[in-house]
C-alpha cells in the first residue's frame, strides 16, 4: 500500500520541472551559479560575488576536497548549478555537492581501445536538465543532470584518424558547439553544432578551406589536405551579434612552413561564425604562416567599452605569439596591438592592419634558431580574466625562448605527430612565469606578480567583484591577488600541480571558490567556527 501511495505521488507530478537551466540564465554574468567554461558568454571570468573580498580573503579555508583516482592531470573547469558541481576527467563526469564535496553521481565512458585515451578534457556544459561533455574517442554525451543517465551520445569525429575532443562544449540557443584537436597530427580542424535536445547535427564548419573556396589560395598544391587548424578550446559569444568567436590552432606541419608557403588560412585566426548557420562572418589572423606552433586558441574576451572616445564592442586576446590584440568584434577590424612579453624577437611590431612585421631569419632552421617566445608561447590555453571595476585584463604570461629546428618529416595517416621540427626550451634564468595586469584598451602593463619557481604556465585566472584575482600555479600554490595592485593576499599549498582555472559560486548563502589540481578538486570558503553544541 505504501508503495502504491508513493507510486501515485511520483506520478502526480508528471510535468514537474527539475533544475532547468534556461537560455535567459545562460546570458547572465556569473553570480550564484557558474554556468560556462569561462563563466559567461563574454569569457570575462568576472564573478559578481563579493562575499569573499580583498579585505577578508585572508581567512579563506579549504572546506572540502574531492579526489579523483588515477587518470590524466585534470585540466577541467567545473560548472555549478544550484550548488551541484559538474566536472570532468578524460572520459568521466562527476556530479558532486558543492557544499560538502560529496559525490552525487559519476559517469564513466569505457573506451574500446587504450589508444583512445589520448588528450585532455576541459569541462562540461549545462542546459535545461542536462549536462554535456565530449570524450577522447570523440563522442558528445548528453546526460541527465540529476542522475547521470545517458540521454544521447553522438560520434563527432574519427578517433582512429587521430582526432580527440578536449574542449568543454559550448551551448547557446539550444545549440551545442563542439571542437576537435587533430592537434599536431596533420588533420584538419572543424566545428560542429548539434541540437541540444535531440543530438541532431545542425552545421559543420571546416577551419581549412577546400580548393576553390575563399582562402584556399593561401595553401599551395595539396598542402591544404594536412593543414591543422584545430578547434582546441571553448569560444565566446555575443548574443546581440549572434556571433561565436573562436581562436584556431596552428598549421601543419608545425615547424616547417616550406611545404605550405602562404598565409595558411584560417589557422591561427580569430573567427566569427554565425551561431545559427556556422557561416564565417569575419576572421583576423594573428600569425600568418606560423612556424612555431603558436595556436591562436587563447580565449577571446569580449568587452563593451569606450575605445578612443567611441563606444565599441571589443574583442581582446593575449596571443601565444606574444602580442596583445584589441579587435572590433562587429567587423574583425584590428584596432590596437602591443607585445605583452619582453622576450619577443620574431617581429618588430604590427602593421596598421595588425599584421606582424617579421624579423628576417627568425624562423626554425636545420641548425637551430633562437626564437622568442618559445613554442609553448607567451600565453596558452589558461584562461585570462577581465574586471570591469579595475578595467584591467589579467593574463598568465611566460617569458622564455626556444631553439627551433625544422626537418622534412612527411604526413603519415593514423594519428601520428606531424610537426617537422621542434624547439629546445631555453630554461635559463630569464625563463619566468607571471600574472600580468594590462590596461584593457592600451595593453600597457600595470602590475605583474611572478609565479616564483613555476617553470610552466600552470592554471588560469578568476576575477571577482570582491576585488580578488584567484590564480593557480604549476607548483601547487593557489593564490589570491589584490586585483588593483597584484599583491598576493592569501595562498594555499594544494600539494600538487594546478593546470586548470578557478571558479566561484554561491551555495546556501556561502561563497565558494573551487580549483582542480592534478587529481583533486578543492572547495574554499571563509572560515566560520563550527556551531557549539546547543544542548
Amino acid at each position: 500500500m505504501k508503495k502504491l501511495l508513493l507510486f501515485l505521488l511520483m506520478m502526480s507530478f508528471p510535468g514537474a520541472l527539475s533544475s532547468q537551466i534556461t537560455d535567459q540564465q545562460l546570458l547572465q554574468q556569473p553570480g550564484d551559479d557558474w554556468l560556462h567554461y569561462n563563466g559567461s558568454y563574454n569569457s570575462q571570468r568576472n564573478s559578481q560575488l563579493n562575499q569573499i573580498s580583498s579585505s577578508n580573503v585572508g581567512s579563506l579555508v579549504s572546506k572540502w576536497a574531492f579526489h579523483v583516482a588515477s587518470g590524466a592531470p585534470m585540466q577541467s573547469v567545473p560548472v555549478v548549478v544550484n550548488g551541484v558541481m559538474y566536472f570532468t576527467q578524460p572520459n568521466s563526469l562527476y556530479a558532486i555537492d558543492g557544499r560538502s564535496g560529496r559525490l552525487i553521481w559519476e559517469y564513466h565512458h569505457p573506451l574500446a581501445k587504450v589508444k583512445d585515451r589520448e588528450g585532455p578534457q576541459r569541462g562540461a556544459a549545462v542546459y535545461k536538465d542536462r549536462v554535456y561533455f565530449t570524450t577522447t574517442d570523440d563522442y558528445l554525451f548528453a546526460l541527465n543532470a540529476s542522475t547521470g543517465n545517458v540521454v544521447f551520445q553522438v560520434k563527432i569525429a574519427e578517433t582512429d584518424e587521430g582526432f580527440s575532443s578536449p574542449p568543454a562544449p559550448f551551448i547557446a540557443k539550444g545549440k551545442v558547439i563542439v571542437g576537435v584537436a587533430p592537434g599536431d597530427r596533420g588533420l584538419n580542424g572543424f566545428l560542429e553544432a548539434y541540437d541540444a535536445d535531440t543530438g541532431t547535427k545542425l552545421w559543420h564548419w571546416d577551419t581549412i578551406p577546400k580548393p576553390g573556396e575563399p582562402g584556399s589560395e593561401t595553401w599551395p598544391g595539396d598542402s591544404w589536405k594536412h593543414a591543422g587548424g584545430a578547434t582546441w578550446m571553448t569560444g565566446s559569444y555575443d548574443p546581440e551579434l549572434n556571433l561565436y568567436f573562436l581562436g584556431l590552432g596552428n598549421p601543419s606541419p608545425d615547424f616547417n612552413g616550406d611545404v605550405r608557403m602562404g598565409d595558411n588560412l584560417y589557422t591561427e585566426c580569430m573567427v566569427a561564425l554565425d551561431l545559427d548557420t556556422g557561416k564565417l562572418k569575419w576572421y583576423f589572423q594573428f600569425t600568418p604562416h606560423d612556424t612555431m606552433d603558436w595556436d591562436g586558441a587563447e580565449t577571446p574576451v569580449l568587452v563593451d567599452t569606450l575605445f578612443e572616445g567611441k563606444q565599441r564592442k571589443l574583442l581582446v586576446q593575449a596571443d601565444r605569439n606574444g602580442f596583445y590584440y584589441v579587435l572590433d568584434r562587429e567587423t574583425g577590424k584590428f584596432l590596437h596591438g602591443v607585445p605583452f612579453v619582453k622576450q619577443l624577437n620574431w617581429a618588430s611590431g604590427l602593421t596598421p592592419e595588425g599584421r606582424p612585421i617579421r624579423v628576417p631569419g627568425i624562423e626554425p632552421s636545420l641548425k637551430g634558431t633562437k626564437i622568442c617566445p618559445s613554442s609553448i608561447g607567451a600565453a596558452n590555453w589558461m584562461s585570462p580574466a577581465y574586471n570591469p571595476d579595475t578595467k584591467l585584463f589579467y593574463v598568465v604570461a611566460l617569458e622564455g625562448c626556444g631553439l627551433a629546428t625544422k626537418n622534412t618529416e612527411t604526413f603519415r595517416p593514423g594519428g601520428f605527430q606531424y610537426r617537422a621540427g621542434g624547439d629546445v626550451l631555453l630554461r635559463d634564468s630569464s625563463w619566468k612565469v607571471y600574472v600580468r595586469a594590462l590596461e584593457l584598451t592600451t595593453g600597457k602593463l600595470v602590475w605583474e606578480q611572478e609565479r616564483v619557481g613555476s617553470m610552466g604556465l600552470g592554471g588560469g585566472l578568476l576575477s571577482t567583484r570582491g576585488g580578488v584575482i584567484f590564480s593557480g600555479e604549476l607548483n601547487g600554490e593557489f593564490v589570491a591577488l589584490n586585483a588593483k595592485s597584484g599583491r598576493p593576499i592569501w595562498h594555499f599549498n594544494t600539494g600538487e600541480p594546478i593546470n586548470a582555472q578557478p571558479i566561484t559560486y554561491m551555495a546556501a548563502g556561502k561563497q565558494y571558490v573551487a580549483i582542480a589540481t592534478n587529481t583533486t578538486v578543492f572547495g574554499f570558503a571563509l572560515f566560520e567556527p563550527e556551531k557549539a553544541d546547543d544542548k
Binding site: 508503495k3 511520483m10 507530478f13 558543492g98 557544499r99 552525487i104 542522475t147 543517465n149 546556501a508
Partner: protein
C-alpha cells in the same frame, strides 16, 4: 674472471629455466562453450561438487560459493581448470582425477553461472518484453532504456552486461539489499521543508537527495530536524507474480539483451594458479 664463469653459467641456467616456465602456454579449453556443454558441465558439477559448494555452486557449507563477488576469484578458464585438476594445497579442495574433458565441462558451467546475463541466450519475445517494460510492468516510470524513461531508479541500458541472469531474476522477484544511491529517504528541515526521494549519497554530515520530480537537494545534516530511511526499496520485487509467466520471461529476455558496452570482469590475482 675465469673462476666466476661457472657461477655465471648457473645463474644463466636458472634464468633460462624461469624463462621456460613463463613460456608454458596455459591449458586451453577443448570442449567449447555451447549450451549443451554448459548443461553437461552442470550435471557433472551437481554430481561431484555439491557436497562442498552446494547445488549450482550457490551455497557452499564446506567451501566458498562459486557465484557472487569475492576477492581473488578465479575467473579465467585456465585458472579454473588448474584448481580442479590440481586442487588447492592446505584446503579441502582436492585434485580431481576425472577425465580432462569433464573438468573442462565443469569449467564452462562455472563460467556460465558467473557470466553476465547478456552472455546467455535467454529465451523470450524481446519486443514483447519492451512492451511489458513500458506498459504493464511500469518499469519505465523509474528506469531508463536508451535515454527514455524515469530517473529515480538505475539506468538499465547496459544491465545485460552488468549483472548475471541470476541477479537479474532476484531483482525482479526477491527483496534484497537496497543498492547505494537508491535508499528511499524522507527529510524534514528545521525550517519545516519536507523532501522525499532517494539518497544519492549520505554520511554523518551531509545528505544528497534526488526527489521524485528529478530535482537534487543538498543538505548539511545540521539543517535537518529529521531524517527517515526506508527499510525497503522502491523497486517492486514481485514481477514473477504480477506478470504472467510469458510476460515475465519476455521481460527477462529483453533486459538480458540490454548492452551498450561489454564490461570486462576483473578480480585481484586473476590468472594466478593459487599454489
Amino acid at each position: 674472471m675465469q673462476k666466476f664463469w661457472p657461477i655465471s653459467l648457473a645463474i644463466f641456467s636458472i634464468l633460462g629455466m624461469r624463462f621456460t616456465v613463463a613460456q608454458t602456454a596455459p591449458p586451453r579449453n577443448p570442449v567449447g562453450n555451447s549450451a549443451s556443454t554448459v548443461k553437461a558441465g552442470r550435471e557433472l558439477f551437481n554430481q561431484t561438487c555439491t557436497a562442498c559448494h552446494g547445488m549450482d555452486g550457490g551455497e557452499g557449507e564446506r567451501a566458498p560459493a562459486l557465484v557472487g563477488e569475492r576477492r581473488f576469484f578465479r575467473l579465467s578458464e585456465s585458472a579454473l581448470y588448474d584448481v580442479i585438476k590440481h586442487g588447492i594445497p592446505g584446503t579441502a579442495m582436492p585434485a580431481f582425477g576425472m577425465p580432462d574433458d569433464d573438468i573442462w565441462k565443469i569449467v564452462v558451467f562455472i563460467r556460465a553461472m558467473r557470466s553476465s546475463a547478456s552472455e546467455i541466450d535467454v529465451a523470450g519475445d524481446v519486443a514483447h518484453g519492451k512492451e511489458v517494460f513500458s506498459g504493464k510492468g511500469g518499469c519505465a516510470k523509474c528506469h531508463m532504456l536508451d535515454g527514455k524513461g524515469g530517473t529515480i531508479g538505475p539506468d538499465l541500458s547496459n544491465i545485460g552486461a552488468q549483472i548475471t541472469l541470476k541477479r537479474l531474476k532476484e531483482s525482479l522477484s526477491e527483496e534484497g539489499e537496497i543498492p547505494r544511491g537508491y535508499l528511499p529517504i524522507k527529510v524534514v528541515t528545521k525550517k519545516g521543508e519536507q523532501v522525499e526521494g532517494v539518497a544519492k549519497n549520505i554520511d554523518g554530515f551531509s545528505v544528497q537527495v534526488l526527489d521524485y520530480q528529478n530535482k537534487l537537494h543538498l543538505f548539511d545534516r545540521q539543517e535537518l530536524r529529521s531524517l527517515e530511511e526506508s527499510k525497503t526499496s522502491l523497486m517492486p520485487h514481485n514481477y514473477d507474480k504480477v506478470l504472467t509467466p510469458q510476460e515475465y520471461q519476455d521481460l527477462l529476455a529483453m533486459l538480458s539483451r540490454q548492452v551498450t558496452l561489454q564490461l570486462h570482469k576483473k578480480a585481484e590475482g586473476e590468472g594466478e594458479v593459487g599454489r
